[in-house]
């Protein structure tokens, strides 16, 4: 598969963005909201793809970085009165700073230790919000994107405004990430994942490359978190442990190595609750089932994927094609 040049890719992203705007004008409010969710999950999954698919590190608790980003953005807005667009930058910086600290520890460890440490972070962080008054407790903080500019007209709803912001921010971020992953850094990370010793011999600074990957990945996750806070709320309940699991499932479904796949993973994650709702309805609308079925399906998908095509369905199909071509 040949890669598009940066200029062509830019045009492709811009066209895709334009198409999204056109589609968003023609679908229902719920679909627009789901579109925004897909965009945000795409970005969150992309942060895992950078970390796991490229630099070969694991994080089971990326939901924590989303939470840090969202709280950072909300604090910037409600306590320091910073303008809305600027809060995204704060979200990236705060979350990246935490990512740097964790990456610093992670660079010295491998596999299970960093998996457990990130999981510990995701379990513990939401409980912190309940204990410090300035984080707003259970109800969380106010984080407000403002109303859409008047010149878009009366018809322009709040959800459409959210969608525009989310889609724009995510498209720009993914475009930048794509360029980053195609650059020297991306190649270094890939070399690192394939064989750390060989990468070190080839002149890649293993420790700093790993820390850099963790920092950037956390920053990207923080931005996704701020967007998520924008469309939902900035409170502990918006960032449960299951959010981390959801993101990982999306990344695993996406095949972890392709940035393009991250959108596919995000679509699946948004479609699953819809399907679960339909099934729960069939089963008689028990509340116990309808609240737990989405989690069940997501977890089952995760296990089935790692059992039968650990590197993602796309990779499995490519292998089958190659095997087929040989005969």
């Amino acid at each position: 598969m040949h890669k598009l040049s940066t200029k062509k890719a830019f045009i492709a992203y811009a066209l895709f963005g334009w198409a999204l705007v056109l589609v968003a004008d023609r679908v229902s409010e719920l679909r627009v909201y789901q579109g925004a969710t897909i965009a945000i999950l795409t970005l969150a999954i992309a942060s895992i793809i950078l970390l796991t698919g490229y630099s070969g590190q694991v994080s089971l608790g990326h939901g924590a970085f989303l939470a840090i980003g969202a709280y950072g953005a909300a604090i910037a807005q409600s306590y320091w009165g910073s303008p809305f667009w600027f809060t995204f930058l704060i979200a990236i910086l705060v979350s990246a700073a935490f990512g740097f600290i964790l990456g610093f520890a992670a660079g010295r460890l491998s596999g299970p230790y960093i998996a457990g440490t990130t999981l510990a972070l995701a379990v513990g962080l939401p409980t912190l919000a309940n204990q410090f008054a300035f984080l707003g407790g259970e109800t969380g903080l106010v984080y407000d994107a403002g109303s859409p500019p008047a010149r878009f007209g009366e018809e322009f709803t709040l959800y459409k405004w959210f969608f525009w912001i989310a889609a724009l921010v995510v498209l720009i971020s993914i475009f930048l990430l794509r360029n980053l992953l195609n650059s020297r850094f991306g190649r270094n990370w890939k070399a690192l994942r394939a064989n750390p010793t060989a990468a070190a011999l080839a002149g890649v600074n293993v420790a700093s490359s790993k820390i850099l990957a963790f920092t950037i990945s956390a920053g990207v996750a923080g931005l996704a978190g701020a967007l998520l806070g924008m469309i939902s709320i900035v409170a502990p309940s918006a960032f449960p442990l299951s959010l981390s699991f959801t993101i990982i499932t999306g990344a695993v479904l996406a095949g972890v190595t392709s940035l393009l796949g991250s959108m596919l993973g995000a679509v699946v994650l948004v479609v699953v609750p819809e399907i679960a709702d339909a099934i729960a309805h069939r089963l008689g609308d028990s509340e116990k089932i309808s609240t737990n079925l989405p989690g069940f399906i997501v977890s089952a998908l995760l296990i089935l994927t790692v059992l039968f095509s650990p590197n993602g369905p796309a990779e499995a199909m490519r292998k089958r094609r190659e095997a087929h071509a040989k005969h």
């Binding site: 796991t52 698919g53 070969g56 694991v58 089971l60 520890a105 010295r108 460890l109 491998s110 596999g111 299970p112 230790y113 998996a115 457990g116 440490t117 999981l119 510990a120 972070l121 379990v123 513990g124 409980t127 912190l128 204990q131 410090f132 994942r193 442990l241 299951s242 699991f245 990982i248 499932t249 695993v252 095949g255 972890v256 190595t257 509340e287 116990k288 089932i289 609240t291 737990n292 079925l293 989690g295 069940f296 997501v298 977890s299 089952a300 995760l302 296990i303 790692v306 059992l307 039968f308 650990p310 590197n311 993602g312 990779e315």
Partner: protein
């Protein structure tokens, strides 16, 4: 003085429970080289089973017995049906390397949602089997109750049984040999496969026991054991992740630390301190307090 003694005793109570969870994680790690995040799920399922038995019969001790047996069976089932399949499919690639860990995570999600579907997500509680009023010391009450004493004694019994099995029996020798060098153990005639399953059986039983012991002091919900999982992991890491005595020492140290911080500083600082201890022990003492000299790789 009275306050310090009370705090220390509470710390030992917490620590015994963390130790049990740490033991469960270490046993699985030694047998399969996986950190079993599903342990929290296994324990929550068995704790709900215990809850159900207590509600129907009112006999706490019967509930513990059933929970432990269910935990052992569940552990065996997971190793036999999921982990073996996973290792048979072992593949190259970025996810394949972390597939076992991801699978335990998926399993945690599945068990938790199944528990939610059966019992619902609302908080429940298990009535304590013995008194929760503190003992009286020098005419003043301690925060330490009969229930806490029962927890400590229960955990101690499990640890004594484990150390007897591991140090004095042939089974224990096989378990230690397969953990140390699976290849050589196999050459020495040990059937490593079944021994692995037994590691999961012991782990499942220990986790189930921890779940039932902690719940009367706490609430029960599909994710009420997440924190126990994290503290168990930290305890196991402090102990070096390889060693069973290490897990116990790590658990007790963590429990006492948590009790001291809660009582003398602030509950708010418990989690941040535990997290800092985790990071520091990973960086400074990567082999654990009493861990082996081997470097932490894989």
């Amino acid at each position: 003085m009275r306050e310090l003694i009370g705090t220390l005793l509470i710390g030992i109570t917490l620590g015994s429970i963390y130790s049990l969870m740490a033991l469960a994680l270490v046993l699985v790690w030694r047998s399969t080289r996986v950190i079993n995040f599903a342990q929290a799920g296994q324990a929550i399922l068995t704790t709900y089973i215990a809850y159900e038995i207590i509600n129907r019969t009112g006999v706490f001790w019967l509930a513990i017995l059933f929970a432990v047996v269910a935990g052992a069976l569940l552990g065996a089932g997971i190793e036999y049906f999921l982990m073996r399949t996973l290792f048979r499919h072992a593949d190259e690639g970025p996810v394949a390397a972390i597939a076992p860990v991801i699978a335990t995570l998926g399993l945690l999600g599945i068990i938790r949602s199944v528990v939610g579907m059966i019992w619902g997500n609302e908080f429940r509680s298990i009535a304590p089997p013995v008194s929760t009023t503190g003992f009286v010391f020098n005419g003043q009450p301690l925060p330490f109750s009969m229930l806490n004493l029962v927890v400590i004694i229960g955990a101690a019994i499990v640890m004594i049984i484990f150390s007897f099995i591991f140090q004095k029996t042939d089974l224990g020798l096989s378990l230690r040999a397969s953990a140390f060098q699976p290849e050589i153990a196999r050459l020495a005639g040990i059937r490593v496969g079944p021994i692995r399953t037994i590691g999961w059986v012991f782990a499942g039983a220990a986790g189930a026991f921890a779940g039932v012991l902690v719940t009367p002091n706490d609430i029960l919900s599909p994710n009420s054991l997440d924190v126990l999982l994290v503290f168990g992991f930290v305890a196991a890491v402090i102990g070096g992740l390889e060693s069973l005595p290490g897990a116990v020492v790590g658990g007790l140290a963590l429990g006492i630390g948590v009790a001291l911080i809660t009582n003398y500083i602030s509950t708010v600082l418990v989690f941040p301190s535990v997290f800092i201890v985790l990071i520091l022990s990973l960086i400074l003492r990567p082999n654990g307090l009493i861990g082996s000299k081997r470097v932490r790789i894989a």
